[in-house]
Symmetry: C2
């Protein structure tokens, strides 16, 4: 793909991407992409993100093997968010859960997350 | 609800919230919440957002009538994104589409959005 679509990136050059299981409809995760991650995702058919913590491009599953293969990509009305329907290979969350959204909000008060630092 | 759960907000005090149709599983929109919007959403059972453009709290549907009634709220592994399953009253998108994600990314190049300004 030579021409990238005119997406609206935030002040850090990022756009949020929601990943949905194309089969079950479950929302698997929300990640962040810069223009390079968008381009690599479209070129390769494998979901790529920009890690805000590591400040590096990463292909989902590059170490875990739990890749996300793109089925299709939609963009919202003001072009500042993406929805990627994908086929997950294994659990998407690093915790081993199928989805990163495995907790009800009510449970969070009882079991706070270990990661609480603010990302840029 | 007196105690708010320990969510991780970004540098602007916001957290992205993905809204999914509880019935169909369709992803309807991605909006932004500050702590007040989270609290109002949980208290009222109606989805509230923080408008980055208008810098104001808004209840989804307060002018259009196209509200989103909360079914449940999940939080992701690092507590910096929310997933809200909801029952939409009418189309969620201001364009009249059921979902804000009504376009394939490929279509965006042919039909660029009218809103291209960068939000803070």
């Amino acid at each position: 793909m030579n021409t990238l679509p005119p997406l609206t990136y935030d002040a850090n050059g990022l756009i949020p991407a929601v990943v949905q299981d194309a089969e079950s409809g479950a929302v698997l995760m929300l990640g962040w992409m810069n223009a390079t991650a968008v381009a690599r995702t479209l070129e390769s058919g494998q979901v790529h993100f920009w890690s805000r913590r590591r400040q590096a491009l990463w292909r989902k599953g590059e170490t875990s093997g739990h890749t996300l293969t793109v089925v299709d990509v939609h963009v919202d009305c003001d072009a500042d968010a993406l929805l990627i329907r994908a086929r997950p290979a294994g659990p998407t969350c690093h915790t081993g859960h199928a989805t990163c959204f495995y907790r009800r909000l009510e449970d969070l008060t009882a079991h706070p997350p270990t990661i609480t630092e603010m990302e840029p």
